[in-house]
């Protein structure tokens, strides 16, 4: 693993190898050699300044910070895709609303029509007879009790 870490340090790893290595590295509890590689580079390039305690202090301070969790970048593209994803749902609701409204209007229209048809086509005598013999009518109950 450290050989890959050494290659990563030199920016000589392929993208998929970097992913694998970082996953392995985050699982490993033991401190990796990245610190030493950086130190060696600083010394060879004459940049070492004896400030290793600062690095340690910063890492300790970061450890005390709450873990930052969140999505990564490309919010613009995501937002466009999210907007595109909402359109079919909105369209479906709109279609349902229109169909519902139309159906409601049609049923009201039909009920009014049918009442008019009944009233105009059937003779009044027949309607009166019907009301007189209907079970809900008071006359029916009176006649029934009288026959007994």
């Amino acid at each position: 693993m450290n050989e890959k870490l050494s290659s990563l340090f030199d920016n000589e790893l392929e993208s998929h190898e970097i992913d694998e290595l970082l996953i392995q590295s985050s699982k490993q509890k033991k401190k990796n050699h990245w610190t030493y590689y950086q130190l060696i580079r600083d010394v060879i390039q004459n940049n070492h300044l004896g400030s290793d305690n600062l690095t340690k202090n910063i890492i300790d301070a970061i450890e005390k910070e709450p873990t930052q969790l969140g999505g990564f970048g490309r919010h613009k593209n995501n937002s466009i895709e999210n907007k595109l994803n909402y359109w079919p749902i909105a369209a479906s609701f709109a279609a349902l609303f229109v169909i519902g409204l139309t159906a409601l209007n049609l049923s009201e229209f039909r009920s009014i029509d049918s009442t008019i048809l009944v009233e105009s086509d059937i003779p009044t005598d027949l309607i009166n007879d019907h009301y007189a013999s209907a079970s809900s009518n008071v006359n029916f109950f009176i006649r029934a009790s009288y026959n007994k």
Partner: protein
Amino acid sequence: MNTLKMNTLKVLTTDSHVYNVKRNINVEEKLMESRPVNPERAVDQKLVEKAQKGDKKAFGMLVEKYQRRLTRLLSRMVRDQSEIEDIVQDSFIKAYRAINNFRGDSAFYTWLYRIGINTAKNYLVKLGKRPKAMNDVEIEDIENFEDAQDLRNLETPESSMMSSQIITSVNQTIESLPDELKEAISLREMDGLSYEEISDLMNCPVGTVRSRIFRAREAISEKLKPLIETTNKRW
């Protein structure tokens, strides 16, 4: 913003336009992929992504990588070493807290340096001080600043002693390495050559170069380990 509005309007009109918008996004992604990627930036990007997913170790690797460069940069603005160290630490903490806002539009170190400079400016304003040398230095100039002389003046006697021990140990170990390891690590670290360039020069496969550099680093690390562990305890 205008592009976004136009795309949204296209979506509203017909299905074919929806296709056009999606296709435009894909073309942009392809163009991004086909652009030459700076390998260092790509590695930093990966480490940032890991840190954004809660991996503090990955952020620690970025701290190790850029702490000295940021310290060097800020030493041009602030005189006092303890102040510089406070500002550097503060800058990294700010960067960590804001890591989810980093979208990769710039290199990580450019973003970090901006945080560092702003932190230093705010710090100096609070103290009623003026920055040491630069007020309006371009960030690109700062990034190219490689002279460590300023910082060497900031060393304490204790850190100076530790430095000299580490330097001696590294140099002695390099001298004792087999020639092929010594040559490989020198070409990489002193001349900054890529593995491919080193393989051409040393007339060996890239895999061998990789292995030689690694073995050299491991040998030096083993020598440094007791020294660093002792000094860390001392700190």
